[in-house]
């Protein structure tokens, strides 16, 4: 509960700064509307905003799911053999290096103007963080456990060690990757919508901007921000629930 109050206080503080900028800078409403004007627009257009938010949220969630699946598999593949690594690692790095907004028009042309291209964008943008983090975790399985496994296995059983030791041990690293993914997946979805779409918060922002409905554009922006923050907290809370054995904060020294 305390966290909620703190969050609301931060929000109020930001709103105050916003109002100050508008008042002191004497900014006209078509450049930066006052916070209350935006809130009023949010209220007025609540139905439309909710509908578009739903579309964008769906793109983000499906993109995250697909990206996580691909990332999980890719990290395992990278650890599998040096040959695979040689082929897959450049692809992985390229996926991060190529700015996603440059690929966006191509994706839209290939996958159409529906959900497909937006999901692909979100998947692309999270692929590297998820894969890199999980791979890192897999590579750094604590030596002691691997030693124990080696002694216990008269014949090496790679998959058994992966399944029982390496993968569970690397799940916290995957979690870190997922937290980053939650923060950037919305960017991918919105970029996809800017390039070509008929629904979603990105589309709405573009539409409102060109019709000089600046208050609506900012309202959509606020909803998008809320969506992104909400997603992050859901992912974070879920990870804490799914990995209860992983300490949230670094352990203090044993007193026993």
């Amino acid at each position: 509960m305390k966290g909620l109050w703190r969050g609301l206080l931060t929000l109020a503080g930001l709103g105050l700064v916003w109002q100050l900028v508008v008042t002191l800078g004497q900014l006209p409403p078509y450049l930066l509307p006052a916070p209350l004007v935006v809130v009023a627009s949010l209220w007025r257009n609540a139905g439309s905003l909710l509908g578009h938010a739903g579309v964008t949220a769906l793109e983000i969630v499906l993109g995250m799911a697909l990206g996580t699946l691909l990332g999980f598999g890719s990290a395992l593949a990278l650890g599998y053999s040096r040959r695979v690594r040689r082929w897959l690692l450049p692809v992985l790095i390229a996926s991060q290096a190529i700015p996603v907004f440059a690929i966006a028009p191509l994706l839209v042309l290939w996958l159409g103007y529906g959900l497909g291209s937006k999901i692909a964008m979100a998947t692309l943008i999270i692929y590297f963080p998820v894969t890199a983090n999980f791979y890192d975790g897999l590579r750094h399985t604590p030596r002691g456990w691997l030693d124990l496994a080696r002694v216990m296995l008269p014949e090496p059983r790679r998959w058994a060690v992966l399944r029982h030791i390496a993968i569970p041990a690397a799940l916290p690293a995957l979690g870190s990757g997922l937290r980053v993914a939650a923060a950037v997946a919305p960017i991918g979805a919105v970029l996809g919508e800017w390039v070509g779409s008929s629904a979603g918060l990105g589309y709405l922002m573009l539409h409102a901007n060109s019709r000089m409905q600046v208050d609506l554009m900012f309202a959509a922006l606020l909803v998008l921000a809320a969506l992104a923050v909400g997603l992050y907290f859901i992912v974070d809370a879920s990870l804490k629930r799914l990995l209860p054995w992983h300490p949230a904060a670094p352990e203090t020294s044993e007193t026993d």
Partner: protein, 254 residues
């Protein structure tokens, strides 16, 4: 207090297996730590390997465990002439319990890794023997250090191997817990061929049927005269005290 050993049905201890290592050699970062080293472990007995830190005792133990790295070599076999692979159980200074598994699942880890069905009944019996019957479902992070090593001991027993290799398993614990666990280990591992590596002379003298001292550069092994009495010996025993003084002189500490 754990119930007397006779009241709990215990598994048959496997036939004692002696271990012989010939011509062990370790070169690390250009430095020869030991060369031409021979080591004999008497079947069914507790051998303690004592030595200062960095001498190479852990490397020697890892050689026996099959966890060899580059730079180490030697001829290793049991007294039946066969290699040791699959006949060794390993216990380290860290408990090596997997934090996402319950204590019970940790104890049965070996079977599951090998793709066999875990024997939960036996695991529970072993947990009772080490005094952790109530903690079977708990996660390791809820246990104290001493309890975690007991769980590790149960896991080691679960493996039911003729040879048990222990690398300073109790050095991370406080003195009282250490003494208790030493006694427990001596009791539960009776009849198996055990190599316990330690830097604590008292521990070696308490537990060892035979005590080897590793010292010098390059390192060599010296065998101490066997002490009277059955392990775990009383630390206050004058024979133990005398041997302790002798060791300190040998290691150049007194």
């Amino acid at each position: 207090m754990s119930p007397p050993v006779a009241a709990i049905p215990c598994t048959m201890t496997p036939a004692p297996l002696a271990v012989s290592l010939r011509a062990a050699r370790l070169v690390y970062s250009g430095l020869t730590l030991f060369d031409g080293l021979d080591l004999e472990l008497t079947g069914g007995c507790f051998t303690c390997l004592l030595g200062p830190s960095g001498i190479g005792k852990t490397s020697l133990l890892r050689l026996l465990a099959g966890l060899t790295a580059i730079g180490i070599s030697g001829e290793l076999r049991g007294d039946d002439g066969l290699p040791l692979t699959g006949r060794v159980a390993y216990m380290a200074q860290q408990d090596l319990l997997l934090p996402w598994l319950s204590v019970l699942d940790n104890v049965t880890l070996g079977r599951r890794l090998r793709g066999e069905r875990p024997d939960r009944e036996r695991a529970l019996q072993l947990l009772t023997r080490v005094g952790l019957a109530d903690c079977a479902r708990a996660r390791p992070d809820t246990l104290s250090g001493g309890m975690r090593q007991r769980a590790a001991l149960a896991r080691t027993l679960m493996e039911d191997r003729p040879v048990v290799l222990m690398d300073e398993p109790f050095s991370g614990l406080d003195a009282l817990t250490r003494l208790r666990l030493q006694a427990l280990a001596a009791e539960l591992l009776a009849g198996r061929t055990v190599l316990l590596v330690t830097h604590d002379p008292l521990e070696a003298l308490r537990l060892g049927d035979h005590v080897l001292v590793m010292n010098g550069r390059p390192a060599t092994l010296s065998t101490l005269p066997d002490l009277p009495g059955v392990p775990p010996r009383d630390p206050g025993d004058p024979a133990v005290q005398a041997a302790y003084r002798a060791i300190l002189r040998l290691l150049g500490a007194a």
